[in-house]
Subunit: 116 residues, 2 copies
């Protein structure tokens, strides 16, 4: 596999990057919900931790029945078992990245994984 | 550990999220380089794949001696062994997310890991 792979993501269609840029440690998707819309189901995960990064707009996530407000520059970790559903605000679209990684898989990072 | 943890990241100081939001499958940092600046060293990784997500601005990464242009909405995967160094453009700052995950750690995702 090439040592790197790059893709530019614009537009409002959901983009799943795993196969497009050859990811092996994560799935990363880029998503836009128009004002008033939501992902039309509640879901959880078997193994994967998710991180939601809000790029633009506002909305909320219902997490195990609790509503959490979301706005640009929020970084939200969600444990695998949490039941989640994301909503755009009534008057604002929301654009966000969703990162899936296997919970507990990171062994070292930054100073303990880097080679100078 | 709580089923979720959230943090808002603004400003130009580097923020490392692993401990702040309880990550276990990734380290995620948010970084800003002013125009003309660079990370002042070349590095690689032992285990970790990195994904760079360009949020704002322009710059480039030198990857094993090859220069790759970067601009907003670019998603760049870098293999652990690749020698990398990121630069802001001479006339533009660059704001980016860096995600570290253990290469090869993702087993299932989306349809095969989700529970409806």
């Amino acid at each position: 596999m090439a040592n790197y792979q790059k893709m530019n993501v614009s537009g409002t269609e959901r983009v799943e990057l795993h196969d497009k840029i050859g990811l092996t440690g994560a799935e990363i998707s880029v998503n836009v919900l128009p004002a008033g819309a939501c992902v039309p189901f509640v879901h959880a995960h078997k193994q994967n931790e998710e991180v939601y990064i809000i790029l633009e707009g506002r909305g909320r996530m219902v997490l195990d029945g609790e509503s959490v407000e979301l706005s640009a520059n929020d970084y939200l970790r969600v444990s695998p078992a949490a039941k989640r559903q994301i909503f755009a605000a009534a008057d604002s679209a929301i654009k966000y990245i969703c990162i899936q990684t296997k919970a507990g898989s990171l062994e070292n990072y930054t100073a303990t994984d880097g080679i100078m």
